[in-house]
């Protein structure tokens, strides 16, 4: 119980301060482009009541899950290839790094030309924006495996695929998870950019909603939902897996 209080109080105070500052700014300015927290709260409740926000959230999460899963598969595959072969690494790594540093929005025109103004274009942007991070994370994780474990494995008689599967991959897992955590953030941002810019007809998503919202309060309500999802997925999904792996190995610093 006490641990929960210790963990919960600081972020709650942080958010309260943010809202207080925002409320003060909204109070002293009279422009309608800075709505008060209360107005945004009302817009949020209306959005939830008329079903637009829940539907958009659900569609967006589905797209996110699909895109990120695809990015994990593609990125991990490429990362393993890079780790396995020196010539491949020399030849392909610069390309992957170039993709990694490419801003997500740069993919939008290409996505629209290839896939049209469709759902697939949005997913393409999200995958293209996140798989390079997974690939580089996989490569780094495997290269950082402590040589001691590999040496121990080899002296125990592990060779070839068995050595990779039983020693190298599990040893690389904590570093890989750090990369996955970063890559999911990329996927999320790229997906939002894709949804916002590609106005796929009939498609709904938080990004689309952002584009269609008429007033600032509704836009901010959607931004709040996006932010909350970001924190929730990061902490409860990716973070939980990461903490489990680290706790099992005694890598968690207990505070």
């Amino acid at each position: 119980m006490r641990r929960w209080i210790r963990e919960l109080v600081p972020p709650v105070v942080g958010i309260a301060v943010l809202i207080a500052v925002w409320a003060m700014i909204a109070a002293v300015t009279t422009t309608p482009s800075i709505p008060s927290p209360a107005q945004v709260w009302t817009a949020l409740r209306e959005g939830i009541a008329d079903g637009s926000i829940p539907e958009a959230t659900w569609k967006t999460l589905l797209r996110l899950a699909f895109s990120f899963l695809a990015a994990l598969v593609i990125g991990t595959g490429i990362g393993l290839l890079l780790a396995a072969s020196e010539p491949v690494r020399r030849g392909v790594r610069p390309i992957v790094v170039a993709l990694l540093t490419t801003p997500f929005v740069a993919w939008v025109p290409l996505a629209v030309i290839w896939f049209g103004v469709t759902e697939r274009a949005v997913v393409f942007v999200a995958v293209a924006g996140s798989f390079p991070a997974v690939a580089i994370a996989t490569l780094q994780a495997i290269r950082q495996v402590p040589p001691l474990y590999v040496r121990a494995g080899r002296t125990l008689g592990a060779t070839g695929w068995d050595l990779q599967r039983s020693i190298v991959f599990p040893a690389a897992l904590p570093a890989y998870m750090v990369g996955v955590q970063q890559a999911w953030g990329f996927a999320w941002k790229a997906l939002m950019a894709g949804e916002l810019i590609v106005p796929a007809s009939g498609a709904t998503g938080l990004g689309h909603l952002l584009d269609r919202s008429g007033d600032v309060a509704s836009i901010l309500a959607v931004v709040a939902v996006i932010a909350v999802i970001g924190v929730a997925v990061d902490y409860f999904v990716v973070g939980t897996i990461d903490r489990r792996i680290r706790a099992r190995r005694g890598l968690l610093t207990t505070t």
């Binding site: 001691l148 080899r154 002296t155 125990l156 897992l173």
Partner: protein
């Protein structure tokens, strides 16, 4: 054989069995990232007989670890020949178990999981693995910790788990690279007792080669101690220790050999 290169204090007993490990004029040169060549050890020639417990001792940086590394097959010597059972060593294998200075347990597996994985690598059938793992974990006196992860154990317990993992596979050769170097005095003594016991139990079945910089440890454990010079390591002297086991540091013979080796090493370290 070129035993003439080594000053022998006691005549070696006749050896009818062929040596399990033979090093023939083995030299290892390393290239530093700066391009500088460093000789780790030079012109090492010695045999280890089946069932013998050999300790390599010498000042830090004399190439003990590198010597074990070439026997383990983790590294290749620059020149010379390393033979195990008359066959050149081409790589590491489960016939030569290694205890590293750090316990080298896999942190994602429990103690039992570590031993089980080693048994699987060694090709032990599924049905036998559970029992063998449990037996060796119990023999090391850590049965209460079998389900724990390595980080939950003390360093001494971890090294015992590593010993269980190594011995469970019934290796003909056990190599130890200063395996007790990082332990506190009590844990070290406990491990030395265990290894002495294992040496007696497995007499003639397992050949031991341990590197250490601890003279007492070497004399307690070994049938024969090879003293290496400061870098680049060469063989200085050989001591045979015939004291009965289990030995203690109070044994007169043990104490005498300890002081002799000690004097020799002091001279080696102080030489310019």
């Amino acid at each position: 054989m070129s035993r003439a290169a080594i000053a022998t204090r006691d005549e070696p007993a006749g050896a009818p069995t062929p040596p399990t490990i033979s090093l023939r004029r083995v030299t290892m040169t390393r290239v530093r990232p700066t391009g500088e060549h460093v000789v780790a050890f030079e012109d090492l020639t010695f045999d280890v007989e089946r069932g013998e417990f050999l300790c390599l001792i010498g000042p830090s940086g004399c190439g003990k670890t590198s010597t074990l590394s070439v026997i383990a097959g983790l590294e290749r010597p620059t020149s010379g020949e390393v033979l195990v059972d008359a066959r050149p060593v081409s790589g590491p294998g489960p016939d030569r178990a290694v205890l590293f200075q750090e316990p080298a347990l896999f942190p994602w597996l429990s103690v039992r999981g570590n031993v089980d994985l080693a048994l699987r690598f060694a090709g032990v059938p599924d049905a036998e693995r559970d029992e063998r793992a449990a037996t060796w974990i119990a023999r090391m006196g850590i049965e209460g910790s079998a389900a724990l992860q390595p980080h939950e154990l003390s360093t001494g317990m971890r090294q015992r788990a590593a010993l269980a993992r190594a011995l469970a596979c019934d290796p003909p050769i056990l190599l130890g690279d200063e395996p007790f170097g990082a332990l506190d005095a009590l844990a070290r003594e406990r491990l030395q007792d265990i290894v002495q016991r294992v040496r007696v139990e497995r007499a003639g079945r397992t050949t031991f080669v341990f590197a250490t910089h601890n003279v007492r440890e070497a004399v307690l454990l070994a049938d024969r101690v090879l003293v290496m010079s400061a870098a680049p390591g060469t063989l200085l002297e050989e001591f045979r220790i015939d004291a009965p086991r289990p030995r203690t540091l109070d044994d007169v013979l043990v104490a005498r050999v300890v002081s002799e080796i000690h004097d020799l090493l002091i001279g080696e370290v102080e030489e310019p």
